[in-house]
């Protein structure tokens, strides 16, 4: 007899579960037009100026677009991000967006989001799934295209040098070995230069994305190039900070950065613009953290029922030295 009751209880609870699940679905559909869209955003942390500008941009754009933003700072920890996403699911936000602090380990929480029917947008960094296709779990990945940044730097260089036959010797300061921006920027840069055989990267070494290492490695480049009888025409740095360090090394070697050695770097931080105004840097390719406006636009499109591209590239510019003075007051990072 007790067995019978147990089965009945089990049946009833199963039925209730189905009902609850059904209700959940209908509740979402019932959101009235005109209601504020609720966005849950989990940020990595505030580890750099770049990241701070990224957060500011998202907050300001949400306000402007009339989107209700629930912002959570993960302080560089994945467990905090997972907690934040789970709480967004419980609060039944309309859209979840986050910058994943690491690539892997998102399977469970993204499945929960999918089960709850909440679309997920990745910003700035991509993810990998241990099984299955990661693309099934997010609607779009929005961020910079590092390969394209490398291509832009090379394209600007080729256009600026205007040399088709004379050899152009390039030295490269790479980012941290194995990091995505370092690999992609190098590949993009080399891809364009393949079509220009007179451009040659004669030396390439990592400067770890820091000013101090950028300076130290450049010092060494200058001396060994001289000893080998080569002239360095161009410096390509994977970020502005390394270029700023290298500029000091070039000056200490008695050369004029920006004139004797043409310098192009990537990021577009304020320091780079100051260097360009001083005539010491020739061009910076933007890697913009200011994706707030694009993010809000994408969310509105999504809610209007449009399908988003799986990959949205941040709007970024190339800033040669001659526009630096005009652009500097607009820089937010």
């Amino acid at each position: 007899m007790f067995k019978g009751i147990r089965i009945a209880v089990a049946l009833v609870s199963a039925a209730m579960l189905i009902l609850v699940a059904g209700c959940g679905g209908s509740e979402q559909g019932a959101a009235k037009p005109g209601d504020k869209i609720v966005l849950g955003f989990s940020q990595i942390g505030a580890e750099s100026e770049w990241r701070t500008a990224n957060s500011e941009s998202i907050k300001a754009s949400a306000k402007e677009a009339g989107i209700d933003l629930k912002f959570s700072d993960a302080q560089q920890k994945q467990e905090n991000q997972i907690k934040a996403i789970r709480s967004f699911i419980q609060q039944k936000v309309d859209v979840i967006a986050f910058s994943p602090v690491v690539e892997t380990g998102w399977d469970a929480v993204l499945q929960e989001a999918k089960a709850a029917g909440i679309p997920v947008i990745l910003t700035d960094r991509a993810i990998k799934m241990s099984s299955g296709n990661a693309e099934d779990y997010y609607v779009t990945f929005m961020g910079s295209d590092f390969v394209e940044e490398g291509r832009r730097a090379a394209n600007w260089l080729v256009g600026f040098m205007k040399k088709d036959n004379e050899p152009v010797n390039i030295v490269e300061l790479q980012g941290t070995v194995g990091s995505a921006p370092a690999i992609d920027r190098k590949n993009g840069f080399e891809e364009i230069l393949k079509g220009h055989s007179n451009y040659k990267v004669i030396k390439s070494q990592t400067g770890d994305f820091t000013r101090a290492k950028g300076k130290e490695v450049m010092e060494s480049f200058l001396k060994s190039a001289k000893a080998e009888g080569q002239k360095i025409d161009v410096l390509f740095a994977h970020n502005d900070d390394m270029a700023i360090g290298a500029i000091q090394a070039i000056e200490e070697a008695g050369l004029k950065p920006g004139k004797d050695i043409i310098i192009v770097s990537i990021d577009g931080v304020k320091g780079a613009f100051e260097a360009m105004i001083a005539g010491k840097l020739n061009c910076t390719v933007e890697c913009s953290p200011l994706l707030g406006a694009q993010l809000m636009e994408a969310i509105k499109d999504l809610k209007a029922g449009k399908t988003l591209n799986k990959r949205i590239v941040t709007k970024e510019g190339v800033f040669p030295a001659d526009v630096a003075a005009k652009e500097l007051p607009n820089r937010k990072y």
């Binding site: 505030a46 790479q174 070494q205 101090a212 001396k223 000893a227 900070d241 700023i244 008695g254």
Partner: protein
């Protein structure tokens, strides 16, 4: 023949022989494989060349190694120096301030506080941090690696807090002199190292300080019973290590005219410990050689600079560095040499015979 063997033994038994041999090997490699490595020319009124770079770049590491040697001699270790470097730079940079002001098109030099005040403040803060380590080790009795681990972890956070997570650029050019200036054609950093080195060497040799520190490292209990104020000297060693890290931090910060809380001095504590070890000092405390550690620091920087100069691909630089360091360590290890030279000695019976007779 006999005299030469004797002389050889005296030379190789000297504490400084193996560190110097390591430095010679690295430089010799460059003599053959790197063009113009030893060329020093005069540019803009100062010496200019790869050797000058090595000395200039090794300066912060030499300072760290000097401080670390004393700590290691007391049977301790200070793994917080990298973070202390970041704090030192952060304090100096935030006090001088990242202001770029132009008056009639020329840059006007502005500081929030006078530069000497900023320098003294940075050194005071780092010495205090060293004292904090000393307090934890000498008074509270926490194991050195654990006690200094606290500051290793917290230090970067403190530096971030001071710089508010940003890289502060210093536009006040006189500050640049500390890390990138030249005095009589020689990098100013070298004078800083020489000054610190001379002062501490004088104190160690002209007072009983050196003897006390060695005694504490060999047997701290016996030292206490023989009347040495053990905890005081341990405390002072850590305070001095903090001070050295502070000076190193100022040099690093000044060299690139900016303070980077995230990256300044990152992993330098490991290089400092390595420099002490390469200098022929036992990490088990006791007898020590400051000059050995300074040479050890030069060896490390020579390896780094050689790697850049020979164009080793960035993906494998760390592996190359590791292999060189392992080889140097093996060369210095007495037991390893015994194994190698025992075979060599057997072939030349007379050498090993004379050894056994003397033993």
């Amino acid at each position: 023949m006999e005299i030469w063997i004797k002389l050889w033994r005296i030379v190789t038994n000297s504490r400084l022989f193996w560190p110097l041999a390591a430095l010679a090997v690295v430089l010799l490699f460059n003599f053959f494989y790197t063009k113009d490595f030893f060329v020093v020319e005069i540019k803009d009124g100062h010496f200019y060349g790869v050797l000058i770079d090595i000395v200039n770049r090794a300066a912060p590491l030499m300072l760290l190694a000097i401080g670390m040697t004393l700590v290691v001699a007391t049977k301790g270790i200070d793994i917080s120096v990298g973070s202390v470097i970041a704090i030192s730079g952060a304090v100096a940079a935030s006090l001088i301030g990242g202001n770029l002001e132009y008056v009639d098109g020329t840059q006007k030099l502005v500081t929030l506080v006078p530069m000497p005040v900023a320098i003294v403040a940075a050194l005071a803060v780092t010495t205090l941090l060293g004292m904090w380590n000393g307090l934890l080790v000498a008074r509270v009795g926490i194991q050195p690696i654990v006690a200094t681990l606290i500051l290793l972890v917290a230090g970067r956070g403190i530096a971030q807090l001071i710089t508010q997570g940003q890289i502060i650029t210093i536009y006040y050019t006189p500050f640049k002199f500390i890390g990138a200036g030249y005095l009589a054609g020689v990098p100013f950093t070298l004078f800083i190292v020489l000054l610190v080195f001379a002062v501490i060497l004088y104190l160690l040799n002209k007072t009983a300080l050196g003897l006390f520190i060695e005694a504490i490292g060999i047997n701290s209990v016996a030292s206490r019973f023989s009347g040495i104020h053990v905890s005081k000297y341990i405390f002072l060693a850590y305070a001095f290590s903090g001070f050295c890290a502070g000076v190193a931090g100022l040099i690093i910060c000044s060299n690139v005219s900016s303070a980077d809380g995230n990256n300044a001095g990152l992993f330098m504590e490991l290089d400092a410990i390595l420099a002490v070890a390469l200098g022929g000092n036992s990490l088990d405390g006791g007898k020590f050689s400051l000059l050995g550690s300074v040479i050890g620091a030069l060896v490390i920087q020579s390896i780094t600079t050689s790697i850049y100069a020979t164009g080793v691909p960035p993906e494998i630089t760390l592996v190359v560095k590791a292999i060189v360091v392992i080889c140097i360590c093996l060369m210095q290890s007495t037991s390893f040499r015994t194994i190698i030279f025992a075979r060599w000695g057997q072939k030349r019976g007379s050498v090993s015979e004379s050894t056994t007779v003397k033993l």
